[in-house]
Symmetry: C2
Subunit: 362 residues, 2 copies
C-alpha cells in the first residue's frame, strides 16, 4: 500500500482518511500561509478561528442540529464526560436513568456514583455478556436524563433505533459511532464523543449540548468542569487542543465534500459491515459474538474455534498488513473496527484473508 | 526563511524546534514502521509505549528528579490543574499558601475558592501591576503547600530564586518556563505545565508529582480528576493525547541531544534575553514593564512611547516576518516570547527591526 501503510482495524485511536493525513503532512511546516505549523499558531489567531468555526458549522450541518445546540471541544475524553454529565446536568435530589449495555456504560454509572449522585440502572444486558441491546425499556417519568451508549466498542453492539424517552432528554456516549449515520438529534439533550475513533485523533472530545441542559449547570463548579465555560467562549476559555480540532475539521470536510454526507457514509458503512458479517456467518469456523439484531456496524467482534487459533489468526493477519484485530483484553476473541475511514478495499482484504485462514485451519 | 516560515514570538501555542517539526512531517504517514500515522496508532501499542516511556525518562534526567517523582501527562491544561491541585492535595480544614504574582496566580486562587477550599494569599505584587516578584515572603507554618507561578507569561516576570518554603511542599505552575533552566527539584511536591509554550503543542499538561503528595489524594474523586489514576497507569487510564505526548518526547530529545541539557539551554536563553533587554534599555524609546530583578527570560514585555506606535510596531514587524509581538489583551503593550525553541537568529532579527523602527519613529 501507499507509504507502506497497513489496513488498520484498531478500535481507537483508529484509521483516519488518507487524504486528511496527506493534507496535514503537506501543510505541516507552514499552515495556511501563517509561516507557522498548525502546532505553533495561536488559538486566538484568525487562522485558528477559521478552523474551529468550520468544525462547528460542519458538525451542525452533518447532524442537522437546530439553533438550540452548541458544539464544544473539550479535553479528557469520554471518561471525563462520565463525571461531567452528572456534575453539570443531574441536580441533587433528582435521579437519572442509565442503560447498561457494556463496559463504558458501567464506567459512566460508576463515575456518577462517585459524585454521590443517583444514577438508576433501568435495564442491563449483562445477563448475556452484553451481547444485545435491550428493548422495551421502562424509563422513570421524573429522570433528569436517560443515558445510553450508542455503540459498544468492546462488545460489538449498537443501537439500531434509539429508545423513546418520551420527552426526557437523551444523553449519549457516541464515541465510537458519531458521524457514522444520520439520526434525529431532537430527543438528545447532550451527546459526547471522544474523537479518536470516528472523527479525529486522540486528545479531544466533542460535546453537543442543548440550551435547556446548559440551564442545569450549577454555578459553583470548577471553571474547566462547567459546560457553560465552553459554550460561552466557543471552546476557547483556555488553550484548546488545536491540532486535534484541526484534524476533526478536515475529517468533517472529507465527510461532507468527498463522502457526501451521513446518508452516503451510512450506506458505505453498511456495505462494509455486511461483507464482514457475511464472511463470519458463511461457515461454522467464525462466530459473531453479538446478537444479529444488535450487531455494530463499527466494531465487528467474533471468535474462532479456539483461543490458540485466534492468536495465530491475529499474528498471521498482522504479517499480511491487517493490523489491530485482537479483541479487547477484557473479553478476548477478535475484533475488526471498521470506522468511517476504513475503506471497502480494506474490508475486502480482511475477508479474503479470513477465507484463506479458514481453508487452511478449518 | 525555510518553508517561508516567520520568526514566531507568540506566547503560546508557540514556536517549536524546526528539526522536531521536520521529523513529525517525515514520519507522519507511517510512524516507526507501524504502517500507521502517529495519530492512528493504539495508545496500548509497543510503539506508543516507547514514546511515552522515553518522554518520562528524559523528563526525569533533564530535571534530575529522584525516584520519588512521577511524571504524568494529563489533559485540560494548567487551568484544570488550578482545580485539581486543591481537590487532590488540600485536605478539608487545612489551608494552602498562594503567592499572587499575576493573572494566572489569580485564576489558581479563584479555582481553589470555588471548591470551598481555603487558599491564603500570603503576598501579592498587585500593588505595582505585578511588575515584580515579591521577596521576604512570610509563609504559614501549617500550610499543606505553597503555590507559586514560576514565570508570569502576561506580566513578563519570573522567579530568579524560588522561595524557601522550609519543608512545606512547593507547588508550581511552570507552564511558561519549564525546561528553560536547571533548578533544584527537591523542595517541589508538585509541578504542572501546559505544554504549549516550552515543551510541545497544545493539548497536554505535564504533571510532576512526589509520592507524599499522592498520599493526600482522597478516594472519592472522579477517576479523571485523581492524580493516582494517572500515576498508577503510566498516564494510560484512558486514551491519552498521543500526538501531543509524541511531540513532547521529540522536544525533550532535542533538548538533551541537540542542545545538550538544561545548563546549555539556560545559557542560550540568557544570551537571547540579554540581547533583547539591551535593545529595550539602550535608549528612551522602548521601556520594559517588569522590574529589572524580576524580568522574565521567556516573555519580554515592553512599551513604546504611544499606543499608536505600539500598533504600528506590531503591524510593521509582522510584515517583516516577525509575528506574535502584541502584548496580552489584558495589559496591552508589546511582548516577545522567546521560549527554548526561539533561535538567537530570531532574536537578532527582532532587535535589528527594533533599532530600525526606533530610528524611523524615535
Amino acid at each position: 500500500m501507499q507509504y507502506n501503510r497497513i489496513y488498520n482495524f484498531n478500535a481507537g485511536p483508529a484509521v483516519l482518511p488518507l487524504s486528511v493525513l496527506e493534507e496535514v503532512k503537506e501543510s505541516f511546516m507552514n499552515f495556511s500561509g501563517s509561516g507557522m505549523s498548525i502546532t505553533e499558531i495561536s488559538h486566538r489567531s484568525k487562522n485558528f478561528e477559521v478552523v474551529i468555526n468550520d468544525a462547528v458549522s460542519r458538525t451542525k450541518r452533518l447532524l442537522k442540529l437546530d439553533g438550540s445546540y452548541h458544539v464544544l471541544f473539550l479535553q479528557g475524553g469520554a471518561s471525563l464526560q462520565f463525571a461531567m454529565v452528572p456534575m453539570n446536568c443531574l441536580p441533587d435530589g433528582k435521579t437519572a436513568d442509565y442503560v447498561d449495555t457494556g463496559t463504558w456504560a458501567v464506567k459512566a454509572i460508576k463515575e456518577a456514583k462517585i459524585l454521590g449522585k443517583n444514577p438508576k440502572i433501568v435495564v442491563s444486558s449483562k445477563d448475556k455478556n452484553y451481547s444485545y441491546i435491550p428493548g422495551n425499556i421502562k424509563l422513570s417519568a421524573d429522570a433528569a436524563y436517560v443515558h445510553i451508549t450508542s455503540n459498544n466498542t468492546i462488545e460489538g453492539t449498537q443501537w439500531c433505533n434509539f429508545p423513546d424517552a418520551k420527552g426526557i432528554p437523551l444523553v449519549a456516549d457516541m464515541s465510537s459511532d458519531i458521524m457514522s449515520r444520520p439520526f434525529d438529534s431532537k430527543p438528545f439533550g447532550l451527546i459526547y464523543a471522544g474523537a479518536q475513533k470516528n472523527i479525529g485523533p486522540a486528545g479531544v472530545c466533542m460535546v453537543i449540548i442543548r440550551e435547556d441542559m446548559l440551564k442545569l449547570v450549577p454555578e459553583n463548579l470548577p471553571s474547566m468542569l462547567k459546560y457553560t465555560t465552553f459554550s460561552s467562549s466557543n471552546s476557547l476559555y483556555n488553550t484548546p487542543p488545536c491540532f486535534s480540532i484541526y484534524i476533526i475539521q478536515l475529517v468533517l470536510k472529507w465527510l461532507e465534500e468527498i463522502i457526501g454526507g451521513l446518508d452516503k457514509m451510512e450506506a458505505i458503512n453498511k456495505e462494509k459491515a455486511e461483507l464482514l458479517y457475511s464472511a463470519i456467518d458463511s461457515g461454522g469456523f467464525y462466530r459473531g459474538t453479538a446478537e444479529p439484531g444488535s450487531r455494530s456496524l463499527m466494531n465487528v467482534t467474533f471468535r474462532l474455534p479456539t483461543e490458540d487459533l485466534e492468536n495465530i489468526f491475529v499474528q498471521e493477519a498482522s504479517k499480511n498488513s491487517l493490523g489491530g484485530l485482537k479483541g479487547h483484553r477484557s473479553v478476548g476473541g477478535c475484533r475488526a473496527s471498521i470506522y468511517n475511514a476504513t475503506t471497502l478495499e480494506g474490508v475486502k482484504a480482511l475477508t479474503d484473508f479470513m477465507k484463506y485462514f479458514e481453508q487452511k485451519n478449518g
